[in-house]
């Protein structure tokens, strides 16, 4: 039982270190800058927890000291088998106390008047710092190790520890912000409870009016819903068209169609909107041609739902394509062949067998399109004009002149209800209906080609749409080299020079306006990527391989966070992390946390898919050979998951670069991200630089993804000369 004692010693030592050495409260310049060390003796704010409690007289920390001391006492007096229950108690009590203490004492004393009446005054406190955070983790691990010593989950301390930490992280970075947002809706400016804001907003005709049915203007909620239904319908149909062309026709350029699927990954979300304005806006190229040729006045028709819809169709059709190609491909050819041998021609087979088998997949693509459209922020921001959608309304409710957090919270809740309903529909309603068309038995046979009367229209539509997409992207690359779009089409490098200028006089100087945000973006994306991959894959491993109570709920909650629109995350992070006990706004950490927990579900999905291909007996074999869970993970699971790990790394890196909706709430002067900066340029009408900067971002991401494809070798686990290649685990849907 030595290992029981050893791991407990390690975390107890960490706990003592946190209490004795690390500053208990938040250090303004940042803990890792180490600037604070010189001032630590003289400045009370920087004292570690022990001194805060004993000398500075913060009695709210005494229970923390007591609980840690009790844990040390248990370690020295009791054997591992006898102390498990007590350790669990201490760990949970410690966490609970930190929660209560942190939430109830704010910057200027008690947060709630009731407490002040009971206990009298208390000195205000800063947000949690290094000491408090480390100690909180230590308490969580004490509870986990206690459970391990009692034999929970076969006594596996590694698994229990990992679960505890993950649950803690998800609670802090997903649920706490959402709860803060909901409570924020019920607070007025000085923080006391009021229903005024909610009441006035919930009946606001600007949100809920159905007047458009009778010729007026509808509320923003219905407009957003209507747009989402249109986008979802359109992208599903287009996705199906592309999927059919790619798998069921003799179309000669099928392979290159697959390139389309990469586009939404590498394109910052507002770029398509931007390109559309250049093409179809008031002074857009196409607009001018049409006006010249016909003499009509086209005007501003693009701005509004129509324009947003076109942009979303361009943006999300590839996602739907990616979902549906799996569905269309997954239909076992033997079903279609069986139908043909039963006297049905290709058209009847398609109508009676293939299409019905695809139906659940189509519904799935529809719901994904619905959620994506609801959550989209970049395109409505650029193309919304006067009539926005929910996500942009939320943004303007906090940043604009309104500055009405209650309204933002109500709008965010409405948006959340829409997307979560779609998500729940997808999970609950569709999960039971998926036809297991991939049987696992080796099906010989080939997919039947489409009947001719379907094939030709389908190919025509696909080619037309592909050409439109190419035109739009060509606009983006070309637009950066044109002086003033629509007015002066002379070629210039001026935009690139202004954005990415380098001066060599007197040493290398990054003089371009874009460099600052560019390097910040790279730095933060690089830091977020490994964390996202680690958290995502660890979660995937726990979900697939471990059986623990609440596993299904845990998985469900994680996947649900995928359906939370970025705008909602942004607003909830601001409301949660602006004040103690956790104060992170304006730091790089909040951006990283946002990326990690926003992109983690993708890592989880990729990991789950990859893990499902690994026989579970591999883990068990490793365990029975005497390797613990940690070693099993390191030596067996991770090496076999290399492609999934790299995919998760690249994906989270790229998503961190292209994301805008949550980021725009969280950037600060010190940490500005590329996308937020570009949106700022667009708002100032500096289209040239914005386009130039976007093209550079797209090129960077193409390089990264291309490099990744080269880097990922096949896992060398099969003889190279035969057998199908292991399907690389690159789940990029949704």
């Amino acid at each position: 039982m030595n290992t029981d004692n050893r791991r407990l010693d390690m975390i107890l030592a960490a706990g003592v270190f946190a209490l004795l050495v690390l500053p208990w409260y938040r250090v303004r310049q940042g803990l890792f800058s180490l600037d604070w060390i010189g001032d630590v003796v003289g400045t009370e704010k920087l004292w570690p927890g022990l001194f805060q409690a004993l000398i500075a007289g913060r009695w709210q920390l005494w229970p923390v000291l007591g609980l840690l001391a009790a844990a040390v006492l248990l370690r020295t007096t009791r054997a591992p088998g006898a102390r498990g229950r007590a350790l669990i108690g201490i760990g949970l009590a410690g966490l609970a106390w930190l929660l209560v203490e942190g939430l109830s004492v704010g910057l200027r004393g008690w947060n709630w008047g009731l407490l002040e009446q009971i206990f009298g005054d208390v000195a205000g406190q800063q947000a949690f710092g290094g000491g408090a955070v480390v100690l909180g983790t230590v308490f969580a691990l004490i509870a986990a190790f206690g459970a391990a010593e009692r034999g929970a989950l076969k006594g596996d301390a590694f698994v229990l520890g990992a679960i505890t930490i993950l649950v803690l992280l998800v609670a802090v970075f997903v649920f706490y912000p959402l709860v803060s947002m909901f409570t924020g809706a019920f607070q007025d400016f000085d923080g006391s409870f009021t229903t005024e804001g909610v009441r006035s907003n919930i009946v606001d005709p600007k949100i809920w009016s159905l007047a458009c049915l009778t010729g007026g203007n509808c509320g923003v909620a219905w407009r957003t819903f209507f747009l989402a239904v249109c986008t979802a319908t359109g992208t599903t149909l287009m996705g199906l068209v592309f999927a059919l062309v790619a798998t069921r026709t003799g179309f000669p350029y099928k392979k290159s169609l697959r390139l389309l699927t990469v586009l939404p990954i590498i394109t910052p979300p507002f770029v398509v909107g931007l390109a559309l304005t250049m093409l179809l806006g008031r002074s857009g190229t196409l607009t001018q041609w049409i006006e010249m040729a016909t003499g009509w006045e086209l005007g501003r028709w693009l701005y509004g739902l129509t324009g947003i819809w076109i942009a979303q169709m361009l943006s999300f059709t590839p996602i739907s394509f990616l979902v549906l190609i799996g569905v269309v491909d997954g239909i076992s050819p033997s079903m279609e062949e069986a139908s043909q041998t039963l006297r049905s021609d290709r058209w009847r087979t398609f109508r009676k067998v293939s299409l019905p088998l695809m139906a659940p997949g189509l519904a799935n693509a529809f719901l994904i399109g619905f959620i994506e459209s609801m959550a989209d922020f970049g395109n409505p921001l650029v193309l919304g004009g006067s009539g926005g959608v929910l996500s942009t309304e939320i943004f303007f409710a906090v940043v604009g002149a309104q500055n009405d957090p209650a309204r933002a919270a109500v709008l965010a809740s409405v948006l959340l209800v829409f997307t979560l309903s779609a998500f729940l529909a997808q999970r609950l309603w569709l999960s039971g209906r998926n036809f297991a068309t991939v049987t696992g038995k080796g099906d010989g046979g080939r997919h039947a080609l489409l009947p001719r009367r379907v094939a030709w229209p389908v190919i025509t539509v696909a080619v037309a749409w592909a050409l439109f997409t190419i035109t739009v992207y060509a606009m983006i690359l070309f637009g950066g080299f044109v002086k003033v779009w629509g007015l002066d089409h002379s070629l210039t490098l001026e935009h690139y020079a202004r954005a990415f200028g380098i001066s060599l006089s007197g040493g290398l100087a990054w003089t371009g306006v874009a460099w600052d945000s560019f390097w910040t973006t790279m730095k933060i994306a690089l830091m977020a990527a490994p964390l996202t991959a680690a958290v995502g894959l660890l979660t995937a491993w726990l979900i697939v391989r471990q059986r623990f109570p609440g596993r299904a709920v845990f998985e469900f909650a994680l996947m649900m966070s995928f359906a939370i629109p970025g705008t909602v995350i942004g607003i909830s992070y601001i409301m949660a992390f602006n004040l103690p006990p956790l104060q992170m706004t304006g730091t790089a950490a909040i951006l990283i946390a946002c990326f990690v927990f926003r992109n983690m579900p993708v890592g989880v999905r990729g990991g789950v898919a990859a893990m499902a291909q690994l026989d579970g007996s591999l883990d068990e074999a490793s365990l029975t050979l005497g390797a613990g869970s940690g070693r099993t993970m390191r030596k067996v699971i991770l090496p076999l998951m290399r492609p999934a790990i790299l995919a998760a790394l690249v994906y989270s890196f790229v998503r961190a670069i292209t994301s805008i909706s949550a980021v725009i709430f969280l950037v600060s002067a010190k940490y500005n991200m590329a996308t937020a900066y570009i949106v700022g340029l667009v708002e100032n009408g500096e289209y040239g630089i914005a386009i130039a900067y976007s093209s550079v971002l797209i090129l960077v991401m193409i390089t990264v993804i291309g490099g990744f494809q080269l880097l990922v070798g096949d896992r060398r686990i099969r003889r190279q000369d035969h057998g199908p290649k292991a399907p690389a685990a690159k789940e990029r849907t949704a």
Partner: protein, 353 residues
């Protein structure tokens, strides 16, 4: 006695999965150096039992002892057992030698020594020169032997084998099971072997534990199970016996006179008293004749299999499945025959008829 290295004991072990009870109450002792087979149809709880012994499942109640030590709550990686998996579970990214050395290195053995021991283990199973290959570059039988070597190199108190032959073709299966048995006899380790194939169980085991619905149906040597099945289930499961009705006429000491379809035979009494009884009738217990004394019947179906013929015979015993070695002149369906019963292939089944 159970303190000895390699001894295994289940004490009132119970295992439930949610609402489903896989093992209601299992008590079982395995002696050191014994090869015990857990045999039963799928879903009978044999694999669950093995996995609880390995530490891959935790019993809901009860105790498991290995070498006298209570290991009920001990995680798999700290138990002195190792396991050969049905799928072999060879790590596909490691060479054969790395696979075999894996457990040694996890036990903090120096890499050089681990490599040496791994090479020894590989030559023990006859794969001396193949350490550098990847598992995928070996044949099924070779992979199986790597899995055995990987488990044995740790010199565990107990070796667990979970349907180790099910991924091999029929001919290889016979060869490999002989090899496993030889290795076990030579090195003298305790082994627990799970299979659903009764022939395999009969061939390799010192003792067989037949399980059904989570309960132990019968424990005994292969001979005892075959010759004196404790129930119709055992009679049917081990060697596909016919279960027929008979009449115990008289009992004298351990010997009973039994009337089977009109023929009277002397059989071990097995505690039965005069009266109606049920018997297991092996397929080779009856000779099929066209004339003479015995139980009359007609051929309902016949299948010619080269060195023998399989018949189904309708008669006073119901439909009986028999095998006849005389394959020169197969009898046609509808032929009237006489079954001449032999005491060797017949056994009374204890309990009420």
């Amino acid at each position: 006695m159970t303190q000895a290295r390699g001894a295994v004991e289940f004490r009132n072990v119970r295992k439930t999965f949610g609402q489903f009870t896989a093992i209601p109450d299992l008590s079982l002792t395995i002696e050191p150096g014994e090869l015990v087979t857990l045999l039963g149809p799928s879903g009978c709880g044999k694999t669950t039992t093995l996995r609880m012994l390995a530490g891959l499942e935790t019993p809901t109640a009860g105790q498991i002892l290995i070498g006298g030590q209570d290991v009920t709550r001990l995680p798999a990686d700290r138990r002195d057992v190792s396991m050969v998996f049905q799928s072999y579970a060879l790590f596909p990214h490691m060479s054969v030698a790395q696979n075999v050395a894996y457990g040694l290195e996890a036990g903090r053995m120096k890499p050089a020594e681990a490599r040496e021991r791994a090479a020894e283990a590989l030559s023990m199973v006859g794969l001396g020169g193949l350490g550098g290959r990847l598992p995928a570059e070996l044949s099924g039988g070779q992979q199986q032997r790597v899995a055995v070597a990987r488990a044995l190199v740790l010199e565990p108190q107990v070796l667990l084998l979970d349907e180790p032959l099910s991924n091999l073709d029929a001919r290889l299966r016979r060869k490999v099971r002989t090899e496993i048995r030889e290795l076990q006899q030579r090195l003298g380790f305790t082994a627990v072997y799970v299979t659903h194939d009764q022939e395999e169980a009969l061939a390799v085991s010192d003792r067989i534990v037949v399980m059904r619905d989570g309960l132990v149906a019968q424990v005994g040597s292969p001979r005892a199970l075959y010759q004196s099945p404790a129930s119709e289930f055992i009679a049917d499961f081990i060697g596909e016996a016919n279960v027929v009705a008979g009449q115990v006429l008289s009992v004298e000491g351990d010997v009973a006179q039994v009337d089977v379809g009109g023929q009277v035979l002397s059989l071990p009494a097995r505690g039965m008293r005069p009266g109606p009884a049920r018997l297991s009738l092996r397929a080779n217990a009856a000779r099929v004749r066209t004339e003479g004394a015995g139980v009359a019947g007609t051929v309902a179906s016949s299948a010619y299999l080269g060195d023998h013929v399989e018949y189904e015979i309708d008669g006073p015993l119901g439909r009986v499945f028999v095998v006849d070695d005389n394959s020169d002149v197969p009898l046609a369906v509808g032929t009237g025959v006489v079954l001449e019963l032999r005491a060797r292939g017949l056994a009374l089944i204890p309990g009420d008829a």
